[in-house]
Symmetry: C2
Subunit: 347 residues, 2 copies
């Protein structure tokens, strides 16, 4: 049943050679319009469907790019994915997607399938634990063009698009200092995730510069999920000495924290300040809207694909490193913190 009509049939039907059909297919202006129309009519009447697989073999391009993420449940990744798909679609490329689930073996498997499928290039958000050795084993041999998003892999040189997470951390810390916070804890996020390290670094540096205490003993990773935030908050609430502010690894984690606080009858923004990162849609829509630093996943995604296309056009150009600046959104979860002293003075 699959279409077995080839350019041979079209050529025969329209009385030209296969070469001519191919040229018409690709819109080559050398072919007179009359001929082209005859060919197109033949294609339509035969129900011809272009076989890109065959073309791929000849041209050594597939018009397909790969996108490898840890997952797509998180709205941040969903936004990024939609943007990547949009730009790929505009360029006439199809998108192969694979999810590592933040596991190295899974990432390896997904990437090698894509390489076998001969995608023209790959956009990759590496798992937390990825090292340059892992990337070498997959990209080294084949030289598949690729762009890394967001997470740095030390010792690996390639095109990159990322957010300045350090700056985001500093912005949050500065704002918390501004509203009068004197101590903060940083919770959630995958243990060895470079993004987590950068955010924490920025927070600590910003806090230190302003005489705000960064409570190491109250700061710890969990994972990047909402439930990780819930767990983190419960753990934190059971420890002695609540900080003035909790900064969550991400908004998703912050939503978990928010839930746990609510469960204990604590309203974020009053009893305790809460901030996140990313500015996912939900952040602004909470009963107490969440202060957060935007990290623009859609821009990250579209820039990554654009960078990939530039790389395909110019394989020998030096690697580029595009940095997107975060933007702080101040909302009630921190803004109203000033209320706190009067409500429940720090123990």
């Amino acid at each position: 049943m699959p279409s077995r009509v080839t350019i041979n049939d079209v050529a025969a039907e329209s009385g030209v050679s296969r070469a001519t059909v191919s040229l018409v297919l690709r819109g080559n202006p050398k072919i007179p319009e009359a001929t082209a129309q005859r060919v197109r009519a033949a294609m339509a009447s035969l129900g011809y469907v272009y076989n890109r697989q065959a073309a791929n073999l000849r041209t050594q391009r597939t018009m397909a790019i790969g996108l490898v993420l840890t997952g797509v449940r998180d709205p941040w990744f969903a936004d990024l994915t939609m943007a990547v798909e949009e730009v790929a679609h505009e360029a006439g490329c199809t998108l192969l997607t694979g999810y590592s689930r933040d596991r190295l073996d899974r990432q390896e498997a997904v990437l090698s399938t894509m390489v076998e499928q001969r995608v023209d290039g790959i956009v990759l958000l590496p798992t937390s634990e990825t090292t340059s050795v892992d990337l070498e084993s997959i990209f080294g041999a084949t030289g598949v063009p690729h762009v890394l998003i967001d997470r740095r892999v030390t010792g690996w040189d390639s095109d990159r698009v990322r957010v300045d997470h350090w700056a985001a951390g500093e912005q949050v810390a500065a704002h918390l200092a501004d509203v009068g916070v004197r101590s903060m804890a940083f919770v959630g996020g995958p243990p060895s995730c470079p993004v987590r390290a950068e955010r924490e670094g920025g927070l600590r540096s910003g806090a230190a510069a302003r005489g705000v205490e960064f409570a190491h003993e109250l700061s710890f990773p969990t994972d990047a999920e909402r439930l990780g935030g819930t767990r983190a908050a419960r753990q934190l609430l059971d420890l002695p000495g609540l900080p003035d502010a909790i900064v969550a690894y991400s908004d998703v984690v912050a939503l978990g924290v928010l839930g746990a606080l609510r469960h204990r009858g604590i309203e974020a923004g009053r009893g305790i300040a809460l901030a996140g990162f990313d500015d996912i849609e939900e952040a602004a829509l909470q009963p107490t809207p969440l202060t957060t630093a935007s990290t623009f996943p859609a821009r990250l995604g579209s820039e990554a694909v654009r960078l990939l296309f530039e790389r395909l056009a110019n394989p020998t150009a030096p690697h580029r490193d595009i940095v997107i600046d975060p933007v702080l959104h101040v909302r009630d979860s921190t803004l109203r913190w000033a209320d706190r002293q009067s409500l429940a003075p720090r123990v």
Copy 2:
């Protein structure tokens, strides 16, 4: 730079013919282990990478399947996507993804690219407006195996996996009647979406059977987004005669309704009952947990891919129609409604 090592090179290096290399590649047991090892050693030392494109042309299979959804922002679609990717991955297939953004032209473009790429099969959640004519134009000529998920397209016969949305509607209606609700409105969802029609049908039938008023004049579509729910609720609150219960097209829409109610100082579950469909993660995590009918997106996704693989194995088998039963989760947003009469008797 891309790997230009072919089976020719491997054959030369290991002193066998290309045919033998190919057989080793595919793990054919006819080749003695000694030979196979020699060949594999040659592949490793040359850095050979299998070129599936070339194999595709020959075998007429691509080991790739397509997934076409309206988008992936909605957690329901994200869950479905993850499940589809999982099953595809297990079967050694890559996944091409495309998003129609619920636009017919976009769906058409995405599907034809996939057909050109010669995917082995397609899992499609059609746009709201898709007719059998649209599907005929894309699938009719090429006969690409495909499975439709969730949304029915009248007059189109194919494999399908879907939720019994009518039953879900009836379950919600029955439960609302049980807690004493005497009138309900149904809001949100894309106007011509078949899923919307089924949910509404079930609600109306369930309501009618129990003497609950289905408030037509207060029921209307918006879209499938959260903001659609917000708009719907605002509109509803401005109309005369608030119903006892609002049923939202989906949990995502219900979250929007919830926000709008909160904005007006109305707590869902007390002032008014609220229910949704799908049971997305957020539903249970709201300050007032949301009553909803689970629609199991992950099961829908994995069943769809399994059905597709069965179709590939057996192209002439009769079409199958897998129906997944919804499960109602009763939570505070409706359970506590009984409080209402005492709070604010109906006008």
